[in-house]
Symmetry: C2
Subunit: 379 residues, 2 copies
């Protein structure tokens, strides 16, 4: 047995022994050697301790999104690196470790940041008062993992669908629908697991601040589902067609939806914000609520593709129940988003804006989500 084989077996045994599955085994030395470490540990005063076991590493940093840059951790005599940061403003933050330059998730934290390209963990600093995205004791909706057939993609695709509390109790009631798209490299799970769209809706509905609605969370990069080499040149257009021609009919056939433009909203973050503007403004006959988080349309594209939107602003304003644009003042797309807002102002197209602090982050997406979910489908 070589060293790696030994470590593999020792790891399995340690897990097994710690779980108390094999109480007859007397020598628990292995288990003690592999005792689990707690990470992250959120303290009552909102400080957070991160720990990572790496006795042989030369340097371990924690890269947490509440810090402006990665922070060095300190090695103790048991081989565990740790650092305590904060107090931190209560929120849910992505973080990862940099172990001799290698980026890793926190192995002992089951809360993932679902993503195609990077692997991060999540820490929930709850604070004393629960926030709008916190798990509270209110009636909860359900998030459904659904497969749907897509003719556009020529394959079966996956989508997450939130149904609000009470959806199962009545076979009669129909609901408005919010299509919510995550950003570049995110997956169909990101608005659920990082954005907490379900908990935000649960809490706002319970407080009487939001209308019960269905939230549909598609995968923003369906070209990745196609066999290598078969992706079309215009991958954005593929998403649009799948959403309009496959996903929407599937949702409307399988859920109790209200199927008119005044009961359909579309929103998204980053790339999903661009998709939102293109699909929403491009299909005002289908959507009257449009929510763009940290994204924009460029002046040229808008002038070229959205003439019918700006040539009769009065008609556009009559059709739009909401055109919402939000961005953080530290977002690397801040200036472009502000430029887009200026374009809308220049044409006299009604819109609402929220310029927050912070950057291109899911902390901001949660804020924007909560603010827009409050507005949607309200008279």
């Amino acid at each position: 047995m070589n060293k790696v084989q030994f470590l593999r077996l020792a790891g399995i045994l340690a897990v097994f022994l710690l779980a108390g599955c094999a109480s007859q085994v007397e020598d628990q030395t292995t288990a003690r050697r592999f005792a689990w470490i707690v990470s992250p540990e959120v303290h009552p005063d909102n400080r957070v301790t991160f720990r990572y076991r790496a006795p042989n590493a030369g340097e371990v940093l924690v890269d947490a999104q509440f810090e402006s840059e990665p922070v060095a951790m300190t090695l103790d005599t048991s081989g565990v690196w740790s650092v305590t940061l904060g107090p931190v403003k209560p929120d849910v933050y992505p973080y990862s470790f940099l172990v001799d330059g290698i980026r890793v998730m926190d192995p002992g934290n089951p809360h993932y940041f679902p993503n195609e390209r990077f692997k991060g963990s999540l820490v929930d600093v709850r604070g004393e008062a629960p926030r709008v995205h916190s798990l509270k004791e209110v009636p909860h909706g359900v998030v459904n993992y659904e497969y749907y057939p897509s003719k556009t993609l020529g394959t079966t695709a996956r989508v997450l669908v939130y149904t609000p509390p009470g959806y199962e109790e009545s076979a009669e009631k129909h609901y408005p629908v919010f299509y919510l798209i995550s950003g570049t490299t995110d997956t169909e799970e990101t608005c659920f697991k990082v954005g907490r769209a379900n908990l935000i809706a649960d809490n706002l509905i319970a407080a009487g601040k939001a209308v019960p609605m269905i939230i549909v969370m598609p995968y923003g990069n369906p070209a990745a589902l196609l066999p290598a080499g078969t992706q079309p040149a215009n991958q954005g257009e593929l998403f649009d067609r799948d959403l309009l021609n496959d996903l929407m009919p599937y949702i409307e056939a399988n859920y109790r939806t209200l199927n008119d433009r005044n009961h359909r909203a579309i929103g998204g973050f980053s790339r999903g914000g661009g998709q939102t503007l293109r699909i929403g403004l491009g299909n005002l006959d289908r959507f009257s609520w449009i929510c763009c988080y940290s994204a924009y349309l460029g002046r040229e594209e808008f002038a070229r593709d959205f003439k019918y939107v700006y040539e009769d602003p009065g008609k556009t304003n009559e059709m739009l129940d909401l055109l919402w644009i939000s961005v953080g003042n530290d977002d690397f797309l801040y200036q472009r988003t502000i430029d887009f807002i200026d374009i809308l102002k220049g044409y006299g197209i009604d819109h609402k804006t929220l310029v927050s602090t912070g950057g291109h982050t899911w902390m901001n997406v949660k804020l924007y989500l909560a603010e827009t979910v409050k507005c949607l489908f309200q008279d």
Copy 2:
């Protein structure tokens, strides 16, 4: 801007540029430098190429569960390590990389192994003919992520619930229920994302080989949901009480279930197999189908706690519709499981066994799941 800050920003920019979100940005040098690599790449002949970018690493191995030990990868001039393995027997396998001894997921693969303690990725070697766990063009059920209130835990807990195809179409039809528990360090997502219980059921139902059923996938380690220091000494008993007194009533109140012992099954893997035997054999008034995957009860525990099971084997056999025990001949629990089967034989308690090849793996869980789902609730 220090080096790490630069890497952070360059990474964000690269992702953004590659997504074509900022077409006006002229210099895409950064994007090219960070061009995405494909990993894993499954070839038509069932070989698999793994790739990992780490120009500065001294050694990178891939630890794939179809190999007996980690395999060294080779560095190319672009800073990417790679190796091609196989041909591999078609299945879904966990794997991870060992980068200078640091275990990491595959950053470019969105398919996670949900787990509390280690972080792995999944590779699907489909082969020419789809397998019983493959995504096929058949009617699909839905996996619901549910929150339920637990008096036992004093908190809100999470459970995944599979409803079969057709469940939403009829408001009348009621279904049998299979409680399916994952293993030590697994989460409530593992039977779904790694075990593919939903796809196995979809495929077997479509083929007329399984009865449409609801599958409930709880979290096997609810003590972890309690505040540090408040966990009871007997954490196993906590799970049992939560399942019997909180989860089961919640499911039966919120789903259209058949609520008698002949329409309730319980099954599980590893620690979940032990939980299955304890809860199932301990509550024959509630369960008549018991499926144990890669686990056992020790002779002493059985003699001490299960007298009513063995003292009147005739009565027990009359009550049991199925007692299923399976294990791989390379499983580190093989001998103990065989000993348990011998105990059952000795007492004359009816049971079915499947001794497969392979070890304590989720490849085997999928096999056992498919075989048992075929049996459940059949006359």
